[in-house]
Amino acid sequence: MNNILNEIGIENYIFLSVLLFCIGVFGVLYRRNAIIVFMSIEIMLNAVNLLFVAFSTYHQDAEGQVFVFFSMAVAAAEVAVGLAILVSVFRNLGSIDIDNLKNLKG
């Protein structure tokens, strides 16, 4: 079996992941809608997952892919909890604009 990285190169995947990660970071910073911010975080996690798979291929090692499963589990758990928090915020505040969350400061 041919290693796909021979044709693409690990660097390209690193750059792709980094850029995707950075877009995620950008989204976190750029948007004030909490749900979009969540999505951005999901993008970040996915960027990492992608890199895991690339490295897994790079090392010809299954552990990287196994780790992706854990990472997915984590992402799922986080989303579940995050959305639950989001919902209760929405119910109390009527908005999910994170810039409106300014009761705690100083």
Partner: protein, 456 residues
């Protein structure tokens, strides 16, 4: 390993107990169970071992810190009974989450594989997100949960990225293998970046500047019980893990990296202490105090190979003082809608014992001798001087001076102001927890060797 299994079992038991309507037994059984687990853990102290393909490594370090975590959890669980008495239907959930949190914590200090580390930190974090937001009708609690969640999952992303780069550089998740490879010549630059990102993630968890902004808000907004958990248990866990990550995966730190630690340490101390000066909310003040303590604890990183004992001592001293003070704070503010220092006015007259305990714990945090906080600081200072970073020590001393300013604000309020309310009966558990914690602290101050020698 047994510890982890037993803790998980206890957590599941709590959930099951709810089904069988055993609520009244919950807290005592959990405490007893934790005590038993503590015994189990301690028994492993002299038998270092690894389990399941190096997933869990039981060594002196992990046992010592795990025991500390269990002790802290015992206190926290003990206090839970009274704290959640208005939410009987949720008690078992709270307890289970706390115990699972402890499982995450234990996993974090005894991991042998980064997957355990990552899962551990996530169990811990997710439990905390839930606990922070657990007062569902309280907008402050919601906000705290939201803030902590957003920033925390962001930090998780960074940690994950770091782990990924480490994996890319070495091809392993097993830290022993990683450590072997780390000193090799051919290691790509991904590796140090990975380590750095992981450390940054952990710095977020211990709330070191400039990753500290969440701490005051979250501490303030969360239910006091959660704040207590965060400021004692979680901080200690994160710090121990940070230490373990660095000492477990690298052979030595580069000078530039140490410089980064120096800067962050000084910055954290300074920011924490200065910001704490003008806080009226006790929880918020302790949050900033915690930030400064994080700065102090970071000093341990500067003498990485020898500081384990000192770090254990410092964290134990800090956490015990924290437990003692929070026991008092929880009692004082339990029927209040805020945690202003005003609530503490005249505590010295109405509840002299509680006031004395709070005073003692604040003095310990300020680093006044005979309390353990003094030795903790002193040993860190001493070690850091030996490592050649006098500058940090001087900053630490200056900060200790500043810290008196706000610790004593509370003491002053207790002893010089007139009380607003009458004396009330205090549930025994508060006295018990507060006094036991502070006595342990003082005991550690009188015989520091007890703790320090464990890891030297």
């Amino acid at each position: 390993m047994n510890t982890l299994i037993a803790i998980s079992g206890l957590g599941v038991f709590c959930l099951i107990a709810e089904i069988f309507n055993l609520r009244k037994l919950l807290v005592p059984v959990a405490v007893l169970g934790l005590v038993a687990i503590l015994g189990l853990t301690v028994s492993e102290f002299h038998t270092p071992n690894t389990f399941y393909n190096n997933m869990i490594v039981v060594d002196k370090f992990s046992v010592a810190f795990s025991s500390l975590f269990i002790v802290l959890t015992i206190f926290l669980v003990a206090l839970s009974g009274d704290f959640y008495k208005d939410h009987p239907s949720k008690l078992s959930d709270f307890l289970a989450i706390k115990i699972f949190l402890l499982a995450g914590a234990v996993a974090m200090v005894s991991f042998g594989n980064l997957s355990m580390f990552f899962l551990g930190i996530e169990v811990l974090s997710i439990s905390l997100y839930v606990l922070a937001a657990s007062r569902r009708l309280d907008i402050k609690s919601n906000e705290a949960g939201m803030k902590y969640f957003l920033l925390g999952s962001f930090a998780s992303g960074i940690i994950l990225f770091g782990i990924c780069l480490i994996y890319g550089a070495t091809g392993y998740f097993d830290i022993a293998e990683i450590k072997d490879l780390s000193s090799g010549a051919g290691i790509p630059v991904w590796f140090p970046i990975g380590i750095t990102l992981m450390i940054i993630g952990m710095l977020f968890k211990i709330a070191a500047a400039p990753f500290h902004f969440w701490a005051p808000d979250v501490y303030e907004g969360s239910p006091t019980m959660t704040t207590a958990t965060m400021s004692t248990l979680v901080k200690v866990v994160a710090m121990a893990t940070l230490y373990k990550v660095l000492s477990g995966m690298t052979t030595s730190l580069t000078l530039t990296f140490e410089m980064v630690i120096v800067v962050i340490s000084i910055l954290s101390m300074t920011v924490g202490n200065i910001m704490a000066l003008r806080q009226n909310n006790v929880k918020r003040m302790l949050a900033f105090s915690g930030i400064s303590h994080a700065g102090f604890m970071l000093m341990a990183i500067l003498s990485l190979s020898t500081a384990a004992g000192t770090l254990l001592y410092y964290t134990a001293a800090y956490a015990l003082a924290g437990i003692a003070s929070f026991a008092v704070i929880i009692y004082v503010t339990r029927n209040k809608d805020n945690e202003d220092t005003l609530n503490f006015n005249g505590l010295g007259k109405t509840h002299p014992l509680l006031a004395a305990v709070l005073t003692a714990s604040l003095l310990s945090m300020a680093g006044i001798p005979i309390f353990a906080g003094f030795f903790a600081k002193f040993m860190l200072f001493s070690q850091t001087i030996q490592a050649g970073y006098l500058v940090v020590v001087i900053a630490g001393v200056v900060n200790s001076i500043i810290s008196i300013g706000y610790y004593f604000k509370l003491i002053l309020a207790m002893y010089t102001k007139e009380a607003a309310e009458e004396k009330q009966a205090v549930p025994f558990v508060y006295y018990f927890v507060a006094v036991t914690a502070i006595l342990l602290n003082i005991l550690m101050g009188l015989y520091p060797s007890l703790v320090i020698n464990l890891l030297n």
